[in-house]
């Protein structure tokens, strides 16, 4: 993989440094390098955070390299570091947008995580295009969905809807779960269909989302799931969702679920019964 480079004058970092710099102190390029050498995710995160407001030209390439780390937590803190440096962020965002268009699956993944990490709302159309590319891996799609979840922006809804029909169950589950986290989101109509998905985790995520979003029309399907789904997590989430929806018609199903063989389900069903109208 080709590492990104930032041909930057030292002045970049100066400008981005703060007036009275408070928290996020005590770091240096050397400490970041040591942390990277240690391989410890915790150490890398801690040291990158410590250079939050430091004018540190030598940090730029180190942190740039971290944008291509295999660990999401590391890529995320590296993006956060760039978000604290608007001038650098403009340049890096431009490169990442190119990666979304032309990069391989790993570059698309990294680019999406970057754009989410710096909360680049303007990149949502490019993320949408990338989601629609035919040659993007499940990992990359997960990152695109994750970026929308971080931004909590309704403009990303088409990405989530697309993700809900993806061939990869992880992408479908993540897309459904992200639907709930979008600010101002109303209803969960696109999620309802996933209650019958072949993957248990997708069904489980869909159940909690339709419950949290008050998608009343889903109660019939949920009533079936709560008593008959083979997966106890799905039954549990269906019970919770039925409680959130509060439909009196769900009483029989929930009553039956109070006797569920799994300890995951029984209390959820009992509590849900108390929430029915």
């Amino acid at each position: 993989m080709t590492m990104k480079t930032m041909k930057l004058a030292a002045a970049f970092a100066v400008l981005c440094a703060a007036s009275p710099a408070f928290a996020g102190k005590g770091g240096s390029a050397g400490l970041i390098a040591d942390a990277i050498h240690s391989g410890s995710t915790d150490a890398i995160i801690a040291e990158v955070e410590r250079t939050e407001a430091l004018m540190c030209p030598d940090c730029v390439q180190l942190v740039t390299n971290l944008l291509e780390d295999n660990r999401y937590a590391v890529r995320e803190v590296a993006a956060w570091w760039f978000a604290k440096r608007p001038g650098l962020n403009v340049l890096m965002t431009s490169q990442m947008l190119d990666d979304l268009k032309f990069g391989d699956a790993v570059h698309v993944r990294n680019a999406a995580d970057y754009l989410g990490g710096v909360v680049s709302h303007a990149s949502i159309p490019a993320l949408t295009d990338a989601m629609n590319r035919g040659n993007v891996s499940a990992d990359a799609k997960l990152a695109i969905v994750r970026a929308i979840r971080v931004m909590t922006n309704k403009a990303g809804n088409p990405i989530l809807v697309k993700g809900m029909s993806d061939g990869d169950a992880g992408v479908r589950a993540a897309s459904a779960a992200a639907w709930r986290e979008i600010q101002g989101q109303v209803g969960a109509v696109p999620v309802v269909g996933l209650l019958n998905d072949g993957d248990a985790n997708v069904r489980a995520q869909a159940a909690q989302v339709v419950g949290a979003m008050g998608e009343v029309n889903a109660h019939g399907t949920l009533e079936v799931l709560v008593v008959s789904d083979a997966d106890p997590v799905v039954r549990r989430n269906a019970a919770w969702a039925l409680g959130q929806l509060g439909q009196s018609a769900s009483r029989a199903a929930l009553s039956a679920a109070t006797l569920d063989k799994s300890g995951l389900v029984r209390n959820y069903a009992k509590v849900a019964l108390t929430q029915l109208h």
């Binding site: 002045a11 400008l15 007036s19 922006n153 106890p232």
Partner: protein, 745 residues
């Protein structure tokens, strides 16, 4: 406390015939039949003290009976609980008062969040409590009255995202509680940063760690709150009274006395020094040392029980190690403790580099002789949170302090704002108390609000101080607010450096503006004048509407001479978020930029930052109040902050010093965040009086810039314009406000 040498402690490690391993029934474990212990697969993540999502399957709760190194281990949970529990990780647990059940926070798989589970010790059954399956619920603890307290990343405010902490970007955990039967879940008010590691005191209050972070403060301190999640109060660690940066996993030794882990915020696997914290004056009776006489942060003290263990983030030495948790077995002056301890460099970077994990094991710690006596160690596991498996006395159930008459809002105020240990006010100089809401970037807003490291701010109201010094305000429940005492010019006289929050129906009235903590203050809001003039600080305004309109932000005549006091307050209350591009830059345009346009000269002083080693200019800048994006030498691209913001906010002087750079030329810091009164630009403008009604009286005796500039190119700023700049500075000198958020477009 004697300071034992390392070698003595090391030798003690090999002493198996320690107190806990003997048959002497008079020892600290003499009346303990069994211990309950948590074992988690060892790991090298979650080093930050507020991390809670670390997951590796294979945790278990065990019983060790008798509590000795050769005791019998019996698994209590969860491999025998069913197929769905086989991949369980367990974060923390608590034992019920009758010792018949355990509540624990567990995670079933990577695809699941942490939930709350009840383990029935009599039949081994495990039941998950009905919490939101998409949110994490951790660190549960039994409360008297058949309730369980927890911290969770669920959000109390419907439709709002939970806060993300500025550091580690973790979704913050806040306090909540639920009935043991799974019903009645309720979430407490939230702060901008995490609240974590709760434990129960014998007076029924809850002690926990709160990440205190406002501007320059960044630490985890101990706070109290009532079991109904009201009446939060500082306990230990604040205002320079502490021992280290952070304190966690506090447990009561005796009334007013707690054992806690003292360490840095990150990289130490949540492990550190064993610290004996005494909140009041200590006294000893029947061998029990307690410290509940006149408890206050001002009277608090601490004793390190492990003086060789680093209290910061330095790697610990071999045989010294770090302590993960402690459970007091008695309340002697030098208490005996059940502890979890790991040897060697318990620091994530060193461990990562060596490719090893810390291995915490359970020991009996004799703090008088600073000796550890091994009880249980598993090289593949973290063996932690050991405690006697026995019943205990429940504290009394505290009555709820929630007042339904507040209709879901919160009430805050002071009996007398002039009563302060942190600042001396001149009589009559405080016009009001500014109430500011805090927020982070969780709503999809920018990752940073400016270059000054302050959280997002929104002015939600100015409560007038009455002649008796009192003030009160209704505020929205469950949001963090921050207070400033303000003069008649709208400038902050004193900034209280802490975020507070109240539940719906909670009253939080203090004695003063950080009154003497050692003094007894009678809090009776009904006696104050403010009780009859309670300010409504957007208490019923939804979050999305707690913003200023572009029209109001751009209205130079929002405040005019001739307004009544009420009209003035109503007008200034419209200035909510000081988005630089909407509230400040338009004011500079035309009024200031005729002279301050970046053309070097007396009106636009220049400076350079130079690297003296290479003699290269790192950065050159000329004062400029235009919106011109600052261009970077090398032309790689424009800085996104305008020159005006760079001019006023300046550069990071600490970083200049740290990198041994030099500033040549005429550099000044024109604004000090949260201190408009002390800011050069405000002194230069010399604003006119705003409150109670606008007048032409100026704030300072110096000549106003409109006069010394000779009237050339500088029309006088209106009072509304001056106030916007004052607010921008007192809000932390941010560039962005909620008014910039894409979610508000």
């Amino acid at each position: 406390v004697k300071h034992a040498k390392n070698i003595a402690i090391g030798a003690a490690l090999f002493t198996l015939a320690g107190i806990g391993c003997s048959d002497d029934s008079s020892g600290p474990l003499g009346n303990v039949d069994a211990l309950i212990i948590l074992q988690r697969p060892k790991r090298n993540d979650g080093g930050d003290i507020f991390q809670y999502t670390s997951y590796i399957p294979g945790a278990r709760l065990i019983k060790l009976e008798p509590p000795t190194a050769d005791g019998k281990i019996t698994e209590l949970c969860c491999s025998n609980a069913g197929a769905e529990f086989q991949q369980m990780d367990i974060m923390a647990y608590d034992l019920s008062f009758d010792a018949k059940s355990v509540v624990f926070s567990g995670r079933l798989s990577t695809q699941q969040s942490f939930g709350l589970f009840l383990l029935n010790l009599e039949d081994g059954s495990v039941t998950q409590l009905a919490t939101d399956p998409a949110r994490d619920f951790v660190s549960p603890m039994f409360l008297p009255g058949d309730k369980i307290l927890f911290v969770a990343n669920a959000v109390v405010e419907n439709g709002a995202p939970q806060f993300q902490d500025e550091y580690e970007r973790g979704t913050t955990t806040q306090v909540g509680r639920i009935n043991v039967d799974g019903t009645g879940i309720e979430l407490g008010a939230r702060n901008l940063s995490h609240r974590a590691h709760p434990s129960l005191a014998s007076d029924g209050r809850v002690m926990m760690t709160e990440w205190r972070h406002l501007g320059g403060v960044n630490e985890g301190d101990l706070i109290f709150m009532n079991s109904d999640m009201t009446s939060q109060r500082e306990a230990y660690g604040r205002e320079g009274t502490g021992f280290s940066n952070s304190y966690l996993k506090a447990r009561e030794i005796s009334p007013g006395r707690f054992i806690t882990i003292a360490t840095a915020r990150d990289r130490t696997l949540q492990a550190g020094v064993l610290l004996d914290v005494r909140l009041g004056f200590a006294s000893t009776s029947d061998g029990v040392l307690r410290a509940d006489d006149q408890m206050s942060e001002a009277h608090a003290s601490s004793v390190s029980l492990t003086p060789d263990v680093p209290s910061d983030r330095e790697p610990s030495a071999n045989t010294i190690g770090r302590y993960y948790d402690a459970f007091p077995l008695n309340a002697k002056e030098h208490p005996d403790l059940l502890v979890s301890w790991a040897d060697g460099p318990v620091e994530s970077g060193v461990l990562g580099e060596a490719g090893v994990d810390a291995v915490f094991g359970v020991y009996l710690y004799d703090s008088e002789h600073q000796q550890r006596h091994p009880i249980l160690l598993d090289q593949d596991m973290w063996t932690v949170f050991a405690r006697p498996l026995q019943a205990r006395t429940a504290p009394p159930v505290a009555s709820s302090a929630i007042d339904p008459k507040l209709a879901g809002t919160g009430l805050i105020g002071s009996m007398n704002v002039y009563d302060s240990t942190l600042h001396t006010f001149n009589p009559g100089e405080v016009f009001g108390v500014r109430i500011m809401e805090g927020f982070s970037s969780e709503g999809g807003g920018p990752r940073m609000f400016g270059t000054t490291m302050f959280e997002g701010h929104a002015n939600i109201g100015l409560a007038r101080v009455q002649t008796d010094g009192s003030w009160m305000a209704n505020v929205p429940a469950n949001i963090p607010v921050h207070l400033q005492a303000v003069d008649v010019y709208g400038m902050s006289l004193f900034n209280e450096p802490v975020w507070i929050s109240v539940r719906g129906g909670e009253s939080r009235v203090c004695g003063g503006c950080h009154e003497d903590r050692a003094k007894t203050t009678v809090i009776d809001p009904g006696l104050t004048m403010a009780f009859h003039d309670i300010k409504s600080a957007m208490s019923a305004t939804p979050r999305q509407q707690r913003i200023a309109t572009d029209v109001d932000l751009g209205n130079a005549n929002l405040i005019t001479t001739g307004m009544t006091p009420q009209q003035t307050l109503d007008a200034t209350d419209k200035l909510v978020g000081m988005a630089w591009d909407k509230a400040v830059q338009p004011m500079f345009n035309g009024r200031c930029t005729g002279c301050h346009d970046g053309t070097p000269g007396p009106a636009n002083p220049s400076y350079q930052i130079v690297d003296p080693v290479t003699n290269t200019v790192v950065f050159a800048f000329t004062f400029n109040l235009t919106a011109t994006p600052v261009m970077i030498p090398g032309t790689e691209g424009p800085q996104t902050y305008p020159a005006s913001y760079v001019s006023i906010a300046g550069v990071d002087m600490e970083a200049v010093e740290r990198l041994h750079l030099m500033i040549t030329g005429d550099y000044k810091t024109y604004a000090e965040p949260m201190n408009s009164r002390g800011s050069l630009i405000i002194q230069k403008i010399n604003p006119m009086q705003v409150y109670p009604a606008p007048t032409t009286q100026r704030a300072f005796t110096t000549t106003a810039h409109s006069v010394d500039a000779g009237g050339v190119g500088y029309p006088e700023l209106t009072q509304a314009e001056s106030l916007r700049l004052i607010l921008a500075i007192d809000n932390g000198l941010n560039y962005y406000a909620r008014e910039n958020s894409a979610q508000h477009d």
